[in-house]
Subunit: 153 residues, 2 copies
DNA sequence: GTATAAAGTTAAGCCCGCTTAACTAAAAAG
DNA sequence: CTTTTTAGTTAAGCGGGCTTAACTTTATAC
């Protein structure tokens, strides 16, 4: 490796700050809602990836199907998730956020952003433009990585 | 495209992807080490902010001093943290990472970072340069926000 | 010098997440 | 049609995090 040290260094510094910040932030927010972090993570997962079955949850979080079922059940009873039957496979369930769940996540994201808004205030217009462009680049790259799009190296 | 995207929207998209990714990643890593997420978070805290007392932990994570004490105790017994007496106040303790603790966190960062390396491979040299610059800007701004430095725009 | 406040610790008890194990029900395979 | 595999649920039990409450020890205030 070591093909571009500045990149590594820059992103490491940023990640160090940002990861610590966001981890702490989510933890405190989840707590303030009365949800545990695992419960909250499931909502995040649904927000991020959309509807899925029980098995997807258990695989994604590396827990047993039993654990996933119990966790989801609490979220269903709290009204954050709905658990419908999959029309194509009557064994399977289709999990999705309810409006209440969607609202909650949105609220959480809102709160997380407040820090970034503070951050924005520290920047000049020019800096902002640079950052925007870089973020768009990164977001696109992240999606490529996520979806397995090959950009041939 | 999307060059007219406001700052907040660009960063929201990025955060949406990145936060979800890093949250999940830390959770799985912590789990793989046998540490709980709260325990792990304390190590992160020490890594990020340096030595501190018991009360700082309890305030930072919004838990009672009792909970902090118990949590820290486990980390001490596992050898990730050392708990010394504060020379200036014999009631207080000074918590700090041991080498073992420091190594663990470094390992975690390393693993988190692998995703970013994949990301880097999706970028052209020019894009990398842009991203580096933006990250430096953000890191600086984050530190200003953290320390309360006034940039006075 | 006594009273009060502050920093941590310890113990009891609760809730929660997770696992294993035993189960139901539906789909796929033969 | 029977067998096996797949999706999910339920119950018992363990361990962890957190809280309250009672305590020890050291610093600070009067």
């Amino acid at each position: 490796m070591t093909k571009s040290l500045p990149f590594s260094q820059a992103i490491r510094e940023w990640m160090d700050v940002f990861m610590h910040r966001s981890m702490r932030g989510w933890h405190l927010f989840a707590k303030s809602t009365g949800l545990s972090l695992p419960q909250f993570s499931i909502l995040m997962q649904l927000h991020h990836k959309g509807a899925c079955g029980m098995s997807a949850i258990s695989e994604r979080f590396e827990i047993t199907p039993a654990a996933a079922s119990q966790l989801v059940d609490k979220l269903v009873q709290s009204g954050f998730i709905k658990r419908d039957e999959d029309p194509h496979d009557r064994r399977a369930k289709l999990l999705n956020l309810t409006d209440k769940g969607r609202t909650l996540i949105q609220q959480g994201i809102e709160e997380r952003y407040r820090w970034v808004e503070e951050l924005e205030e520290k920047l000049t217009a020019e800096e902002r433009a640079q950052v925007i462009e870089a973020l768009n680049i990164m977001t696109r790259a992240a999606q490529e990585v996520e979806t397995g799009t090959q950009a041939d190296k």
